[in-house]
């Protein structure tokens, strides 16, 4: 069914899940002029303006569009891996209505002009919202902080050195201190590069059996501990970019208990997969930080339930065959995820590990709140960025069907249950599952 952009739309008889209000009811949702009018029980066909299109959403879920807090897009500099256009197509098919792209591009997004370029380029070519994070240090070199004030004014939503850690504690202290004056969020990959060394996967018996060098969990925990001390010293606003292990959760728990402005993400890979999925050296499961043990995965899901982990992100990282079809040691880390993050997360819902509303909160409401973005909610007046989910439709992830330019999905050929069937951005349907 083709729907006019201008006419109001009523999504009738849907299971409305709005984590921003702890709302999970069967009801109707009305949008008009790109904005959510209301979402409640019994608006009905009678209660809507004349000319309203009605979409029956019986047995389907309607939820805020996902806000993916961490995705690498190849622009500028690596358009062969992903463009805003291709990434946004993948996002739309995965229910992601807002992509937060990372600054580790070429050139690095570390000056206001590049932020401006990204925003213009995305505006002209992407079908979902795109907001960049800017680099925390110039050239991602970990030495000198970037123009946090001007970058934020230009549209950077947070500051990060991508998958690089800032090893110099003094630089981190000053950046946290300075960022506080602008209420800027610092997002940090907590991995000590010296402890990573030449490691390529989780340090474990399994790694030893594969003959691969491991990365200890302490590489993460040590850096996180240091960061928490810096946050305590500076009162800065801090977000751990990708937490993977149970030990880190203890550190995080203490920091939150102490009232520090600390939040954290886990990637969809780390909450749904473990190191054993690497199996026979499958390089598509080589990610950074590495997949950990099953106990760690379970601990992450538990932390998600308790709100200790705030955000689940895709950690979308397109790698082409040249960088993936290599021995495990030599393959580039990274997995695509925009298109599969929700469906992979639904696995946890279906097997009873997680409530749907909890998953959706971590993928939409919380990231929007942390980044100060208007989405992540179905409240009246919010932008009509929303998704319709069929929780029960079975499908198989076929890499050739994926919209991403690169096909390095860890869910290659996986059987899935449930997916996005319609994605709406600013009131317009940008994706429909045939």
């Amino acid at each position: 069914m083709m729907l006019s952009d201008r006419r109001p739309i009523l999504f009738a008889n849907a299971r409305i899940v709005d984590p921003s209000r702890d709302l999970d009811i069967v009801g109707d949702l009305l949008i008009a002029d790109g904005v959510i009018r209301e979402a409640k029980k019994g608006i009905g066909a009678a209660g809507v303006p004349e000319g309203t299109d009605v979409i029956d959403c019986r047995n389907k879920v309607i939820a805020p569009g996902l806000v993916d807090m961490r995705a690498f897009i190849g622009e500028p500099g690596a358009g062969h891996r992903e463009t805003f256009a291709s990434a946004s197509q993948a996002a739309a098919a995965g229910g992601v209505t807002t992509i937060i792209c990372q600054p580790d591009t070429s050139p690095v997004i570390d000056d206001p002009a590049t932020v401006d370029f990204v925003l213009r380029r995305a505006r002209d070519t992407a079908i979902v919202h795109v907001h960049p994070m800017a680099a925390l240090t110039k050239g991602l070199e970990g030495k000198e902080m970037t123009e946090i004030g001007l970058l934020k004014a230009a549209g950077a939503v947070a500051f990060t050195d991508g998958d690089k850690s800032v090893t110099n504690a003094q630089v981190m202290r000053r950046a946290l201190t300075y960022a506080r004056d602008f209420d800027a969020l610092i997002v940090h990959q907590t991995e000590d590069p010296d402890l990573i060394g030449d490691g390529v996967m989780n340090e474990s018996e399994f790694a030893t059996r594969l003959g691969l060098l491991g990365i200890p969990k302490a590489a993460e925990t040590v850096m996180l501990e240091r960061d928490i001390r810096m946050v305590a010293l500076t009162s800065g606003r801090y977000h751990a970019a990708s937490i993977t292990c149970a030990e880190s959760l203890q550190v995080l728990g203490r920091a939150k208990h102490a009232g520090l402005k600390v939040t954290a993400s886990a990637s969809i890979n780390h909450i749904t997969l473990n190191e054993n999925d690497i199996g026979p050296y499958r390089t598509f499961l080589k990610v950074s930080p590495p997949l950990r043990a099953e106990d760690d995965r379970k601990a992450l899901v538990e932390a998600l339930r308790k709100g200790l982990i705030d955000v689940v992100m895709s950690d979308h990282n397109p790698q082409d065959v040249e960088t993936k079809r290599l021995p495990f040691d030599e393959a580039a880390p990274g997995a695509i995820g925009l298109e599969t993050m929700l469906t992979a997360g639904l696995r946890l819902v279906h097997n009873g590990e997680l409530e749907l509303i909890t998953l959706l909160r971590a993928m939409s409401t919380r990231p929007a709140e942390l980044l100060g973005l208007p989405g992540g909610t179905l409240k009246s007046g919010a932008p009509a960025d929303l998704i319709v989910i069929d929780l029960d439709v079975p499908w198989i992830v076929d890499p050739n069907e994926l919209k991403s330019k690169c096909k390095n999905t860890p869910f290659d050929e996986a059987r899935m249950t449930g997916r996005v069937v319609r994605t709406i951005v600013a009131g317009r349907t940008i994706y429909e599952y045939a």
């Binding site: 240090t137 110039k138 030495k143 000198e144 902080m145 970037t146 123009e147 946090i148 004030g149 001007l150 000053r174 201190t177 300075y178 506080r180 004056d181 500076t234």
Partner: protein, 317 residues
């Protein structure tokens, strides 16, 4: 022809190491005396004889143009024999310790030593080993008492008072001895002091110095009678304490727009040397509200006042 000041104020200290420890009465006494020297300095015959026969050594371990010139001129106008020693020519370069330098100098029987040193507390250390009067011309990030006094004189002459004024000190508070001396003096004289800087340039515990703290200029300059800008050194502006010159100027540089947040009759000060386009816009620096050139004039007068007031307390005076 010599003109003696009418004021008979005596500073009952051997040294002037900082504003800390000076009473409001002592500060006022110095300002009153300074006022008389302003008049004198505007005459053709500027010379007096109150320091005749005295030896003043200016010992600058850290480079300075205006402060050193100002002290030299002040000493000469009071009739002292003035000798300048600078870091480049001093034995410190050859590895002599500060204490040995002090002992050597002491043997030459100077009456007044004016010292600038890059290390906080170095002037006090020298003073403890010397028999003469010592004036601190700036030590590290500790104190610069004559700067605070000349600023106070400039303010008092333009506003008629210090008490009750709101003075906003803006910029690199962390590394600034000028800020510390000014905060102490202005508090002592009953002014309201506000410091304005990015958090990276605010020293820990500053809120317990009796100042209000603001992180942005709109809030910081609101209602200010005096806007005192501080120099930001080059090595601190490229990502270590602030990201860049352009960001610093955008948020904390004093331009006409930000000056408009202050009172309409607010006056602008800067201890110099200025970085135009970094902490201050040329239009403001050279504008009608600027007191920056007057500060330099007051510098000579206030240093004469300090030399005079201390010398009255010297032995055999």
């Amino acid at each position: 022809m010599t003109i003696a000041p009418k004021s008979t104020f005596v500073l009952n200290h051997r040294n002037l190491l900082g504003i800390e420890g000076l009473s409001a009465a002592e500060i006022s006494g110095l300002l009153d005396l300074g006022e008389e020297f302003v008049e004198l300095n505007r005459k053709i015959e500027k010379k007096t004889t109150s320091l005749r026969g005295r030896t003043q050594i200016n010992m600058f371990f850290e480079v300075s143009t205006r402060t050193q010139a100002s002290f030299e001129l002040a000493g000469k106008r009071l009739g002292a024999d003035v000798m300048n020693m600078s870091a480049s020519s001093s034995s410190m370069r050859k590895g002599e310790t500060l204490i040995d330098t002090a002992i050597t100098l002491n043997a030459m029987h100077p009456d007044i030593l004016v010292v600038r040193h890059h290390a906080s507390g170095a002037v006090e250390l020298l003073a403890s080993k010397l028999d003469c009067s010592v004036i601190n011309a700036g030590d590290g990030a500790h104190e610069h008492p004559t700067q605070a006094l000349l600023d106070a004189l400039t303010i008092r002459r333009n506003k008629g008072r210090i008490e009750g004024l709101l003075v906003a000190i803006c910029g690199d508070i962390l590394h600034s001895r000028v800020a510390r001396s000014n905060i102490i003096l202005l508090n002592q004289m009953g002014a309201r002091v506000r410091v304005v800087a990015p958090s990276t340039l605010l020293p820990p515990g500053i809120e317990r110095f009796g100042v209000e703290v603001a992180r942005d200029m709109r809030e910081g300059l609101n209602g200010a009678d005096i806007v005192m800008m501080l120099r930001l050194q080059r090595e601190r502006m490229n990502g270590s304490f602030v990201p860049s010159v352009s960001e610093y100027f955008h948020y904390w540089g004093l331009d006409e727009k930000k000056l408009a947040y202050a009172k309409p009759d607010a006056l602008v000060m800067h201890p110099g040397p200025m970085n135009r386009g970094v902490e201050i816009d040329s239009i403001v620096a050279d504008g009608a509200q600027s007191l920056i050139r007057e500060q330099v004039e007051m510098g000579v007068a206030i240093r004469m006042a300090v030399l005079e007031a201390l010398s009255r307390n010297l032995p055999n005076a």
